[in-house]
């Protein structure tokens, strides 16, 4: 059971970090576009 928990936690950690990376990248792109559009 503990190994399953570790696996699920590892998967969640990796996936959430990926999603945060993507979110930040999207926000930065929007900021970049806004600056470029000035």
């Amino acid at each position: 059971v503990i190994w399953v928990a570790i696996a699920v936690a590892g998967g969640l950690g990796a996936a959430s970090r990926y999603l945060v990376d993507r979110l930040v990248a999207t926000k930065l792109s929007l900021v970049g576009l806004a600056i470029a559009g000035r």
Partner: protein, 142 residues
């Protein structure tokens, strides 16, 4: 494939890779436990190995002009992202400082970062070289 299902697939790849990377890391930490006050060789080795492999994979994919993100997300972001650990490095340095072995703590922190960069560079060179010599890279490249 729609953007939505493509995004779900990408998250699924990272999740699957993360499961494998985390279990491998914890298994190694269980088989090779670190005694209090001693150099954390297990985490040190995992981080350097992960840095080398990430450099290798990303360089290999770049050299072969791979546009499908499957391997990058599964192995790079998922497996190696979960296999390597910055937080454990930070905790172990903190523990070593708490145990009063300041020299070991500083050596561990500096060596992890400096040798990690060197390991990643070695991986980048090796991965790119293998892609070219193995005939996986497009002709006329570089």
């Amino acid at each position: 494939m729609s953007d939505r299902s493509s995004s779900l697939r990408h998250v699924g790849l990272v999740f699957a890779g993360g499961m494998f990377g985390a279990v491998t890391r914890v298994a190694l930490a269980t088989w090779f436990p670190v005694r209090p006050g001693s150099y954390p060789w297990t985490t040190f080795g995992e981080n350097l190995t992960g840095a080398f492999l990430l450099g290798f994979v990303l360089s290999f994919l770049a050299e072969t002009r791979e546009t499908d993100p499957t391997v990058r997300l599964l192995v790079g972001t998922g497996v190696l992202g979960a296999f390597t650990t910055y937080s454990t490095l930070a905790i172990e340095v903190s523990d070593l400082l708490g145990d009063g072995v300041v020299g070991t703590a500083i050596t561990y922190a500096v060596a992890s970062v400096a040798l990690g960069v060197i390991a990643a560079l070695l991986g980048i060179v090796t991965g790119g070289s293998l892609a070219r010599r193995g005939g996986w890279a497009p002709r006329g490249n570089g």
